[in-house]
Amino acid sequence: MSKGENLVRIVVLGLVLVMALGLLAGARTAENEFVMQVPNYLQKFDPQDNFQMAGFMLRGSYETLVTYKVQAGPLELEPCLAQSWEVVDNGGAYLFHLRPGVTFHDGAQLNAEAVKVSFDRAVELELAKLGIIEGVVESVEVVDELTVKVVLSNSLPSLLYRLTDFQIVSPLPVTNSDDWGKTWYLDNMAGTGPYMLDYRDPPSATALKRFDDYWGGWEGEHFDKVRFVTVTEPATAMQMLEAGDIDMLWSAPVEMLPQIKANPNLELVESSAPSYVTIAMNTTKWPTSDIRIRRAISYALDFETCIELIGGRPLADSIRGPLSESNPYYEDSLPWPEYNLEKARQLLTEAGNPNGEGLPTLELIWSRSWDYQAKTVQVLKEGLAQIGITLEIYPLNFASMLAKNKDAETGAHMSFIISYPTEDAIPDQLMSNMMRSGGRYNWSWFSSTPQGGIVDYLIDEARFTLEEEDREVLYKQLQQIAVNNYLALWPFKLTELDAIRADVKGYVMVPGYEKLVPFYHMWKER
């Protein structure tokens, strides 16, 4: 036997030996366990200091006073830790009547004092969730053992929607420490939710196990364990889903939809509230400060091609303005966007820049989160090139986008935004974020222009008015301002899709900004 043949035998034997190790290796998952892929490891476990994408994991462990009903349809509020509530003091305060017999994971009891501690903690430590109540909640008072009063600085009809994102934490780690539980809550969990922390295996996995004393009980079908596995590569995650190593993807990549649809073991779940793609235009920086230029840009965007490239209807569809069509405040007289290069060229000529002469290169910034963003900006770039405008596209991470757009002067001409207009919720936060001065995504800066000075006033009026009719008028006015002044382009809306194993039941895509996976309501078909 030659040395070469010996070598081949050695290699094959080695391979067989290594594969045999697999026989000694452990089994995939515990039974009755739900395994979900997440793109980022959740570093901080403090639900009040967490706006990380992976923060949705904490919703299995922490609950809020009110929550969204687990249904695929319109957003609907329902009681959670608060059994009922009433508006008092002429809209100046809310009384929340707490659910009796609710226990935290560490044994503490839910009462009014515990709720007050949660609110005070967010204020004292200036935690991330302070933004939900800052400037609107003046104080939280204990009325009796199970009644808490939330005093507002002004009437706020959207308070309940805001509170769906404010988790209540156990007071024990807070009172047993010198730092309001700040260090303890980084690494530990103590909420009232159906699942409690089982173990952490950073950065690979976080596992939860059922909390036997959960107030909702365990009758019926429920998962006993929930595990989050960090997988950053979509291709890798897809393979795991197909093999059954995970039960659900964080989100279904558009390019993998045909593969998912063709697999009988997988299912696609649609959201009833799509995400809205928006490209904000800087109304204070030349040339996008000129409304004729903004209109020309709008006419140069081939909306239909964008929709086709994303996957066509019904996955993507046209929109007009920032609000969802099923929102009660939706202005249905708004014009549909139009693709018309002739009109675009005409507007440039009117603006004194025929064929784009004299115009600087425009910059567009976007975060590299989803593939459809890349396709959209390319379509826009090609359209603008046809009318003589050069567009430079800068993919940035989110932190860099925020830094670039910290003010109108340094801000980009155009900025890509994904928004999640809810269907029935009062769109106060959406409008504030996107149009109000100081709004996180107010990257048109229109409110700081002479024409836009009324925007802040309208948003504040809409926020605090108790009259439904007045609110409707105000929000419709805001939409007209946004669309008629071309504060942004609205290329399309995109149906959010989740890919899940077909034997997992009970999952519905609850619409909303933050991902809501109702683990407690799900089970696996045996």
């Binding site: 040395k3 070469g4 290594v18 594969m19 190790l21 697999g22 026989l23 000694l24 290796a25 452990g26 089994a27 995939r28 998952t29 980022n40 490891y41 570093q43 901080k44 967490n50 706006f51 200036e126 935690l127 991330a128 969730k129 302070l130 933004g131 939900i132 800052e134 994102d165 980084l186 690494d187 173990y199 295996d201 950073p202 950065p203 690979s204 996995a205 596992a207 596995v229 960090t230 997988v231 950053t232 590569e233 291709a235 890798t236 393979q239 795991m240 197909e242 093999a243 190593d245 940035l396 991470n397 989110f398 932190a399 860099s400 925020l402 830094a403 670039k404 910290k406 100081g438 996180r440």
Partner: protein, 335 residues
């Protein structure tokens, strides 16, 4: 020799200092706001400012650097913006996984690459030599990340022969923590199931890491040994009737070793830094995975710490390689 050693060790300090300045400045001048990134999109402005103050980001750049160097001299690598925990704590947690993977890969590169290279040299011109040259060119050209994805596709997705991600199948398969090196901890605790599971999970990441590096070592060993084998004294040794293994391993390998050793030193450094891509794809919970996450979250302290650690290890491996020269070749003296 001792003075040379001391001099080289002392030279590490200004090198690390220079690297720290460059990386520190780069992380501070990029157009990004880590305080905003840390606070999150819905956070209040107060919260953002509080984080900025807490991290010292509101101070002038030279002051920030001075504070950083002061803390570094005490072994304090700062707080991770993303996790809120000390960076040193995170590094201790993730470091063993990277070292275990890199060292194992390095060992394989040496254990397979050098003998294969010698084999190719001693069978120069034959089929096995041709195969080794062609495969060397082929595997060197493969991007590591692409190879990693292909390995997953073939060996997991199609064949179901190997696992896709992670160091072990589940948290409960981990050995009892002693050193953090799963192979070593499994051996020390006699946990054979854990050892098997660890090796089983390590196979594909190792192949991805080793493939391109192996080819370079094989090629270089072949060339160096061939060079030495053509010298007169080797002809004399053969003429005196010495056996082929004795001629190759005792008389020629040592003279061929210096460039091979230099390359191996560089390979080790590459593996430490280059394993990041492999770690991301195989979700191998090592320093590379941790640092890429930190990069995406503008976690400056982590980025600087990782750079300094890799630089330090690179300098150490270079020094070790230099010192072994004098053992291999007594004519080399360090003064």
């Amino acid at each position: 020799m001792l003075s040379y050693l001391v001099r080289r060790i002392l030279l590490v300090i200004p090198t690390l200092f220079g690297v720290s300045v460059v990386v520190f400045v780069l992380t501070r001048v990029v157009p990004a706001d880590p305080a905003l990134a840390a606070a999150g999109i819905g956070a209040s402005q107060q919260k953002v400012e509080a984080i900025r103050r807490e991290l010292g980001l509101d101070k002038p750049l030279p002051v920030q650097y001075a504070y950083y160097i002061r803390d570094l001299s005490r072994g304090d690598l700062g707080i991770s913006i993303y996790s809120g925990l000390p960076v040193s704590q995170d590094i201790v947690r993730f470091f063993p996984a990277t070292i275990e993977l890199s060292l194992t890969a390095f060992f394989l590169v040496c254990a397979i690459g050098i003998p294969l290279g010698i084999f190719a040299a001693t069978h120069h011109g034959k089929n096995v030599d041709l195969v080794s040259r062609v495969s060397a060119v082929g595997t060197t050209a493969l991007p590591t990340f692409w190879l990693a994805l292909i390995l997953q596709l073939v060996f997991f997705h199609k064949l179901h022969w190997f696992p896709l991600i992670g160091r072990v199948t589940s948290f409960h398969m981990r050995p009892e923590h002693i050193t953090g090196f799963f192979i070593l901890d499994s051996l020390l605790t006699g946990n054979w199931a854990s050892l098997a599971d660890t090796l089983y999970h390590m196979f594909l990441p190792l192949v991805a890491l080793v493939a391109a590096r192996l080819a370079i070592v094989v090629r270089l060993t072949r060339v160096c040994v061939l060079d030495v084998l053509s010298l007169d004294y080797i002809r004399t040794a053969r003429a005196k009737g010495l056996s082929n293994p004795r001629v190759v391993y005792k008389h020629s390998l040592r003279n061929a070793a210096i460039p091979i050793l230099t390359e191996l030193g560089m390979q080790f450094s590459w593996m430490l830094g280059g394993s990041a891509v492999v770690e991301m794809i195989f979700v191998w919970p090592g320093l590379g995975f941790y640092t890429i996450t930190a990069l995406n979250n503008m976690d400056f302290n982590t980025i600087i710490a990782f750079t300094l650690i890799v630089t330090g290890l690179f300098l150490a491996s270079n020094l070790l390689v230099d010192l072994t020269y004098s053992f291999l070749n007594p004519r080399i003296r360090f003064e």
